[in-house]
Symmetry: C2
Subunit: 237 residues, 2 copies
DNA sequence: GCGACCGTTCGACCGCCGTCGAAGCGGTCC
DNA sequence: GGACCGCTTCGACGGCGGTCGAACGGTCGC
């Protein structure tokens, strides 16, 4: 009787359809403002605020205030896994739920984050750049007016001389003033992935090479047959 | 709005503490009668019945009537995964919840089912016996008065001549009338594991050899150092 | 067959929680 | 600094759902 964690508290949070809508809207790792989530759930701003407060208190979402907006995002990969487990148990629309499940997994693998790559692929590329000595520590500055993209930004990266050469070689042309390295803490992987001009340039180049394809309407990114081989060769991914 | 599975319905089921207690009591794969679950949840029989009805309708548990008792069990491994995901998210007692988590995983690996082995280990042994040709199809009969031990019992096994020899050789002595093969559908693996006299004999022999140890008060079974090597050699497990 | 027992259904009570509009707080833009 | 805007808090309303005891259908034991 006393020894169990109150798992029911978590269940109660997921017992409301509006809250579930909010969580599902956040399931691909985006950070969305409260107003957007209210619209997504089809509910008034005050009601949404109540829901978000409970989700926050329950540890399912975290909030990051940016200017007068407050961006919410899922608190971690655990929440994504929980959602996945619940979708697997929700029977009513077997086909839809299956498609949703695979879609979520695809997003976890590779997706866009604004104009650059995120997900396992984005993290793998970042990791390779660091491991290969193309990207090292530095003292770059992050523009505080940017929308929130991750949890902590306490590490600074900078392209090494080899990194600059590699960018040229790979076909990513950056204006001299735009070589500052920015990055996000990837939500699904909880590791860094490259953003900023370099991240955008690499994604653009990957598309140009035909290695990956961006979905027209959502944030999914699919790896082509040629891309599979090229990515493995270039990034070991 | 319309395309989502009503995941909230599942959440609502898990939003009640009594229901969670019931599910956790069932988490190790046992089938328990309604009265026991009522006591486990600390609630009256009528209330428990209501909860069980909802859980059943929601597809989280299945029921099997046996005489005047009705045995409930979790509907499948999905439910176990869901519970695990929720425990990971329930923060209040970090230490306890962690211990619970590892305990559940240990049970999933190896546990007793009445007097024989279940879990991954039990399934692996059964699979090896079949693969090695020691156990084949037959026409054995199952006693319908036994408590429910699995979902379907439509396959009949029988020890082959080689199987009989192997049992002798391994040190399992069975009375001539007790060689009928019984099995259960393992809940966590959804495959068969050996029960009946042979299953009990094998477990007893494994304990005698010092390969596994049964926990004094619960159903956990731990593999010893010697057992790890012996099991690998004997069953490829 | 008749009592004992297990389980479900019914009816009534109670409490909790989601909902919204209005008001309050803080930050931005001109 | 003033007006606007995003978000949260407050108060009041309404409904859904958990709870129990009592009554009912089934099954086992003698």
């Amino acid at each position: 009787m006393p020894g169990d964690a109150d798992i029911a508290a978590v269940g109660a949070l997921l017992g409301d359809e509006r809250r579930c809508r909010i969580l599902l809207a956040l399931d691909d790792g985006r950070a969305l403002p409260a107003s957007r989530l209210a619209a997504e759930a089809g509910v008034s701003a005050s009601t949404a605020s109540t829901h978000l407060g409970k989700l926050r208190e329950g540890g399912l979402v975290t909030v990051q205030t940016h200017g007068r907006h407050r961006f919410y995002r899922l608190a971690g990969p655990h929440v994504g896994r929980l959602l996945e487990a619940m979708v697997a148990l929700a029977p009513p629309r077997p086909v839809t739920s299956l498609r949703e499940g695979t879609r979520a997994r695809a997003l976890r693998r590779a997706r866009t984050c604004y104009d650059h790559l995120a997900g396992e692929l984005g993290v793998a590329i970042m990791r390779h750049l660091v491991d290969a000595g193309l990207l090292g520590g530095g003292d770059g500055r992050r523009d505080p007016a940017d929308p929130p993209v991750g949890f902590g930004h306490d590490v600074d990266y900078r392209f090494t001389a080899e990194g600059d050469a590699w960018l040229d070689d790979f076909g990513v042309r950056l204006a001299p003033g735009r070589r500052a390295v920015r990055y996000c803490v990837d939500w699904t992987e909880q590791e860094h992935h490259l953003s900023g001009a370099a991240g955008a340039g690499i994604l653009a180049r990957l598309v140009e090479l035909g290695w990956v394809r961006r979905a027209p309407k959502d944030r999914a990114v699919t790896v082509t047959e040629a891309g599979r081989e090229g990515l493995a060769r270039t990034f070991g991914a």
